[in-house]
Amino acid sequence: MGVQTVGVVGLGSIGRIHVAGWQRLGVTVEGADGLPEARERARDAFGIEVHDGLEALLRTVDVIDVCTPTDTHAEVALAAVRAGKHVICEKPITRTLPEADALISAANERGVQLHVAQVVRFFPQYAAAARAIASGRIGKPAVLRFTREGGMPGADRWYHDDNRSGGIIGDVMIHDIDYARWVAGEVVRVYARTLRNAGPQNGATHAYAILTHASGAISHLTASWARVGAPFRTSFEIAGSEGLLEHATDSRPALRTAPAELARLGGMLLEEDPWTAELREFLAAINGGPPPRVSAEDGRAALAVALAAIESAKTGRAVELATEVAAA
């Protein structure tokens, strides 16, 4: 008997995306959120049962999907693990490395699965590039560039509070950090700069990082909340010893419309959105299928690189990553 019911904790923007994904997969979803308006919104939009906290969910569901603000991941996920639930955790795995280590060991000890939702690996254009690299089309990756740029989250949002979210690096750049590790291997050194302080907590809204991979490959990453008033965009360029792969979400749109807003009605132009594809793979693993393309240790390693980048941005010095991180 496979998973019947999933409990999504945290019904904000990513929580609602996950609820929709679970419903597409035919899984019964219940939700929990401390905010009455978030509960009401999810109940109205998805017709799901909602609770005001984790406790009620632990009594009824098989899997807990943690979609709360980053600084609460560890507490919620640990409680779920201790209750014997398999756990899916939105990225970053936790806010700190000790929390990540404690969570991974607790899951191992309790014998439950822990999955970290580094969703970029499930975006088909990124997955296709990873396949092309694995098949040898561009030889050995040497120089990689990634950008991830959008508008600013609402000024009152927790994303701006570095202590809660990890800021632009911990919340946004970590997507490409994980992907860069996936295609170019372990990261051994990081240099990063943050700029354009503008949030209510005066956090940075734009960041650059230069990663050095164990292979010698270099990744240049841009993450930004500075692109106010324009659509969110991402791009990558991966140059190897025998070739190059390029992609940008806005370079060749499949739909162009007048008025421009009409294009949004088209959605993602995919049979299955990347979040649903990701949850499908986690669900299959929990039901006894193969391990997913991203592990909890990958989530921990991406966090380690992100935290090193944050430290580098503070100190102005390049930060070496401990080899135990590289080995993890």
């Binding site: 070739g243 088209g266 049979e271």
Partner: protein, 338 residues
Amino acid sequence: MSTQRKLKIGIMSFAHLHGAGYAGLLANWPDVELRVADDDPERGKRIADRFGVTCAPSYAELLAWKPDGVIVCSENSRHRELTEQAAAAGAHVLSEKPLATSLADGRAMIEACEAAGVRLMTAFPMRFSQPVIAAVRIAQEGKLGTIHGIAATNPGTMPGSWFVDPELAGGGAVMDHTVHVADVMRWLLGSEAVEVYAQTNRILYPDLPVETAGTLAVTFANGTVATIDCSWSRPNSYPTWGGVTLELVGDEGVISVDAFAQVLASYSDGPGRTGGQDVRWLPWGDDPNAGMLREFLSAIREDRAPVPSGWDGYRATEIALAAYRSVEAGQPVPISTE
């Protein structure tokens, strides 16, 4: 799902390159048992071996296996005979496009399937392209208002082989590349073509016995004016085989859809940088052929008519054949839909 009976699917002929692509998909689907046959036995064996499936020694033996459905991927002019054989054996048929090289053959295929009580589907994968589906949905929801004009293109590289044999292909670029977007237009508008004007030439590949470029203007019964570029105008060095685009112009909005925009640009020097220049667009979106094959299988399982049907294939062929009449006349020609 995993408990459902496997469907027995046959592929008749690999003359059309799409056949090998369909085999590659179906060979990996757990709910399908695939066998193939080809009147070019070496070609059939080679492709069957590549995907680890059985190649029957003849069409008769493939049909004696009693497949639930067959996909006809022969030369265009042979769709009719293979469809008639399959129908007589009680197999549902998915025919490669264009449905036939004459309206008489197309009608005979439809009638043979009706008489045998089997379904006939035409291979129009653009009905299963996610960008095209989105554009059609937005248009059908009325978001563009009344659609007055459509400019569509389906250019490709010159396919060579029997595609340039007027007997086997039924023509050149017009026969090859008119029907995909013509079908999308009929679906989108819910209206039939009533008049066609076309110009063709042979400037590209002048030694071939068929037209290699063409542009059509099609007037639909509802008044929409649509143009189609069906040319083999993409050089061999183009990064992919061709493409499909449509621009829909309504009185409240415009949509341009590029069905093959979901690609990565790939540049490869080959192992040890010893290859020639290799620039390609690698697709990452959903494969429209997979959606099309799933529709064929679902229609068989659910005992319903597949979409697009044999009639959809017939109507699109009518537009391509009218284009040849127009070229002959140098003027627009009517299509009188019975």
